[in-house]
Amino acid sequence: MTSSAMPPAAPAPNPASSLEVPPTGPVTAPLATPAATQAAPGTPMIAIDNVSKWYGDFQVLTNCTTATRKGEVVVVCGPSGSGKSTLIKCVNALEPFQKGQITVDGTQVANRKTNLPKLRSRVGMVFQHFELFPHLTITDNLSLAQRKVLGRGKDEAVAKGLALLERVGLKAHAHKFPGQLSGGQQQRVAIARALAMNPIVMLFDEPTSALDPEMVGEVLDVMVELAREGMTMMVVTHEMGFARKVANRVIFMDKGEIVEDAHKEDFFGSPRSERAQQFLSRILSH
């Protein structure tokens, strides 16, 4: 019943071309300009292979296997405590795991020889609670890692940050501190901050769960735009509308296991596992 293997080999189409919406027009510059990757389109950007993780005796992840190909948008959903946040945090080694292997663009995450800061700088991450640095202005939030990690000059880093800030519609707030912005605005800044590093892949850990309902839309809009530009994304979320709109695949997790890993149409049309059916009926009934 469970399908933890990769879906059939049909190459993931460019999300933009699979939808009626045309790719970004000539007027607006793209949100993301990912750095060069080794992976050709269609090859796995993130390969999660048989990953298991324990907190003491408690097993939080059990033999998780999946892959996210270049340009693909994968939504990870499931009830709380199912391990989906833990899994996504394993991808950039914010959480260690005891068994299995994760490879990001050909680099083994758990390998002791891997330069983790370097790897992480290429993997953008957006957190549930934004995690902007409250003692720094928005401009400094956007430029800090560019300067310290990528070695960009101050002018270049600030210019890059401001350009992205404009794209998420917050240029007027550049001089403010995070505490002066609303949750939705902070999350958009957090997305811009991650994009400023030219990530090859973006991870979203419940990016809208901590937001007031009326602010969810503005954040999802940015994410949809990003997805349509072809960014490789792994998104932990309960926003099934977002999944329907832009996801290529949906992964359903329960009790630390990947129960379902299917194309969007298959997942929403005819989920194979009972647990996924239950979850969907509960989440979509209202």
Partner: protein, 230 residues
């Protein structure tokens, strides 16, 4: 007792009290506070690190220092450090470090234990997600500490750090046991010389009280200004 209270004694002693005594006290306080905060922060980082052994070493150090009376530590350093220096360098005579250096080292090491507990609380007061976000952006441990965690921890803890520094300012008077001319030492020397104990010790108390009281008020005002908006 107050019948022949002589303000002139105080007035005459002022240059000596402040130029010699207070200068020493303030210099020692400032240097020991800076040294103590730096060392204390490193100890706090050791204590919170996941590297096996380091937290234990830091914990033993802090508990050891906090279990000893300050006067004893001052004595101990002043009289024993020269011999330790001699033993370490193999010199023929005990290495004289001087009263100022000796007391500075003592206060730095001693206060570091207290400052480290403050900084530990400060670092722990920063949400875990901040460190995760810094790591996720590719910052190394030291970059994350230096740019994200410690600046916030310092801000949060600044009032407590300054309050501890006021305590340190008072504690520096204990160097009188080494016959050092700090402010209290200077007052005490004049008192002995002129036989004016009442004037000098009263005046010393008034000066200590005034400085500490004003400093406390300033700390409280500062507290309201540095709070980070979250």
């Amino acid at each position: 007792m107050f019948a022949d209270f002589d303000f002139k004694v105080i007035l005459n002693a002022l240059p000596y009290l402040f130029l010699d005594g207070m200068t020493f006290t303030l210099t020692l306080t400032a240097l020991a506070a800076v040294g103590g905060v730096v060392l204390g922060t490193l100890i706090a980082m050791m204590r919170l690190s996941g590297i096996p052994g380091l937290p234990q070493v830091a914990k033993i150090y802090v508990n050891f220092m906090r279990s000893l009376p300050l006067v004893l530590v001052i004595f101990w350093f002043y009289f024993l450090v020269p011999y330790i220096g001699q033993w370490l360098t193999g010199a023929e005579r005990p290495i004289q470090v001087g009263a100022f250096s000796s007391s500075l080292i003592t206060f730095t090491l001693f206060e570091a234990a207290y400052f480290s507990e403050i900084m530990r609380a400060g670092i722990q007061s920063i949400p875990k997600g901040q460190a995760a976000a810094a790591s996720a952006l590719g910052l190394t441990y030291w970059q994350s500490m230096g740019n994200v965690i410690l600046p916030q921890a310092f801000r949060n803890m600044l009032p407590v750090l300054l309050t501890q520094t006021i305590v340190l300012f008072q504690d520096t008077s204990l160097v009188y046991v080494l016959s050092i001319t700090d402010f209290l030492g200077a007052a005490s020397k004049v008192a002995q010389r002129d036989g004016r104990l009442v004037e000098m010790y009263l005046f010393a108390a008034v000066v200590y009280f005034t400085i500490c009281f004003i400093a406390s008020l300033l700390v409280r005002r500062l507290q309201r200004r540095v709070a980070i908006i979250r």
